[in-house]
Symmetry: C2
Subunit: 342 residues, 2 copies
């Protein structure tokens, strides 16, 4: 079994451990931040962590109503701009806590008066020494180059933080058991993967809270399977990318019941007209019936809590597809675990 597969299966335990270890600290942090007048949240990350941040952006805006910006690190590192950050909360997200540009943004933001938080898996990393508060993912060392348990751990931290910054009751305690259920899908995913053994290109689609998941699955497919995976919002898809579908690229879609259903249905109908192949990760019967193939998720999962349990079959898909293709998911060509961009 690859390290990647092993780490995928650890996720329910990691998530539960993180909830227990961090809950009280985050409650206090929430009280403190609510006493301040936070008017802007800036998230800064790269790679898989940036995909978790893309999820966090939607979640924080939807629950706290505070506008969120995904930072462009080069504004700080290359252009040396000193942004006006009074009343800003700046959150760095990095598995290793050693991303040089992420840490530079955190340092400069703190100097500019922002409150800074680091979400990381490494308690002794450089990031933890910079930020005002660290939110730790208790995943144990992540050995696979392809991030899985730290990605969902980062997403969980965004749920926990949103719950203390907003008046929304977020039942994130349900997530670990939804994830345990998701892991039961392994044999189903294994069967489906066989069909995609020779896939070289695909398109991954998601919207709203599942948009970050589309980026994350695409990145996993590029890293571990060398599949060229385009990623789009189902909304942007009609602005150009649809043209390439006629080249018979399969479309993989995160499509829970709920607010994003209508646009996913519209896209699936269009894909049927174009006779394109579609694979949905869904708990909605209408979506399933319109898809060429589907992975059936539990109907108990509300769209609001879907992103973490829904990424798990996608992680399994990437890890098992790598195996089917005769590749080693743990040692992608050309990549290293820590990337120090500046």
């Amino acid at each position: 079994m690859s390290l990647m597969l092993q780490e995928i299966t650890e996720q329910p335990v990691v998530l539960e451990r993180t909830i227990q270890a961090e809950k009280e600290k985050i409650r206090k942090l929430g009280n403190y931040l609510r006493s301040k007048d936070i008017r802007l949240i800036i998230l800064v990350a790269r790679g898989s962590s940036d995909n978790a941040a893309l999820f966090g952006r939607y979640l924080l805006e939807i629950t706290t109503f505070i506008p969120v910006s995904l930072s462009a690190p080069s504004v700080f590192t290359l252009y040396n701009a000193s942004l006006k950050l009074d009343n800003a909360l700046v959150i760095g997200v990095s598995q290793s806590g050693e991303g040089t540009d992420i840490n530079t943004v955190l340092e400069k933001s703190k100097a500019a008066g922002a409150f800074t938080i680091g979400i990381t898996n490494e308690p002794d990393s450089s990031m933890t020494k910079i930020v005002d508060e660290t939110l730790l993912i208790h995943a144990g060392r992540e050995k696979s180059v392809a991030a899985t348990k730290t990605y969902t751990g980062q997403m969980l931290q965004f749920y926990m933080l949103s719950s203390v910054l907003s008046d929304v009751k977020i039942e994130y305690e349900q997530i670990p058991s939804f994830c345990a259920e998701s892991l039961q899908l392994r044999s189903t995913v294994e069967e489906i993967v066989a069909r995609y053994a020779f896939m070289e290109n695909c398109v991954v689609v998601g919207r709203g809270l599942n948009y970050g998941n589309a980026y994350e699955l695409a990145l996993k497919l590029m890293e571990t399977c060398y599949v060229v995976a385009e990623r789009f919002s189902s909304a942007d898809f009609f602005h150009g990318p649809l043209a390439i579908i006629e080249r018979r690229f399969p479309v993989i879609m995160f499509a829970p019941s709920g607010v994003t259903k209508k646009s996913n249905i519209d896209l699936l109908r269009r894909l049927r007209e174009l006779k394109a192949d579609s694979l949905s990760i869904t708990n909605d019967e209408e979506i399933a019936s319109l898809s060429s193939r589907y992975i059936a998720m539990s109907k108990e999962i509300d769209e609001f809590l879907s992103p973490i349990p829904f990424i798990i079959p996608a992680q399994l898909f990437a890890a098992l597809l790598a195996e089917t293709k005769g590749l080693n998911a743990d040692s992608p060509r050309s990549l290293s675990k820590i990337t120090k961009t500046l």
Copy 2:
């Protein structure tokens, strides 16, 4: 000649006309906005306009030091969140002014207390009736489905707006003549295109102010040539995407002299080790010498003013590649000019 090629050649005239027609209005708008306490700028757009907004995001942050967020329209349209937008400036960007979700975000932002601006080519569009102020691109009707002159017109508006919101002296009056020079590259681009006649995939790279251009060229290649074009920042490239380069995808790079040079050089060196094909649009000799092919831009163009003149050879590349491939750039399959997402 395709409509697309014709509209590409109109750009120096369109840009000059837009400067003359809008300059005085924008000066007054700047005075007004500087008297208010703008603490956040939100840009909202889709498709090519979103690529112009991605450029605008860097430009506005670098010059005004006001944090900028690229809006996620579904936060407003699907999740019905009421963001806290006092002291926010919200700018919608749409060629047609008829993007339903863009207009919904503008309406809701205005209701929430934000000052709203619309950047559009259509003076009688729905957008102009919603916003507090319209910045018009004087491009004449854009007939080609692939946006070119409205894309650069939108970018120009961001320069004009930045110049009145910041203390930076921006010499945007130079841009139309730089663009006229860029158009002289047509025969050079025509020769280079021959080599890419059978290209089916590629990667487009840009960073900082030219990051939006990477997205824009990729979109043009998808829309008009059915080339599957990945787009990345040269910084993100080392976080995974590098793995797919080993499949011998050519890399097209926006690489002006200046602050982004070092990271582009690092990437070009790595591409040489991997024996990957690279095509640079550059005015830097070292970059040119490290690239398999290059399109030589004027050395007079500073990185800060490079994005508009540098996109022109890229637009020519897409339009001429479509011709070489025997495709009609003006009528991409499956696409329509106005996309009304909700």
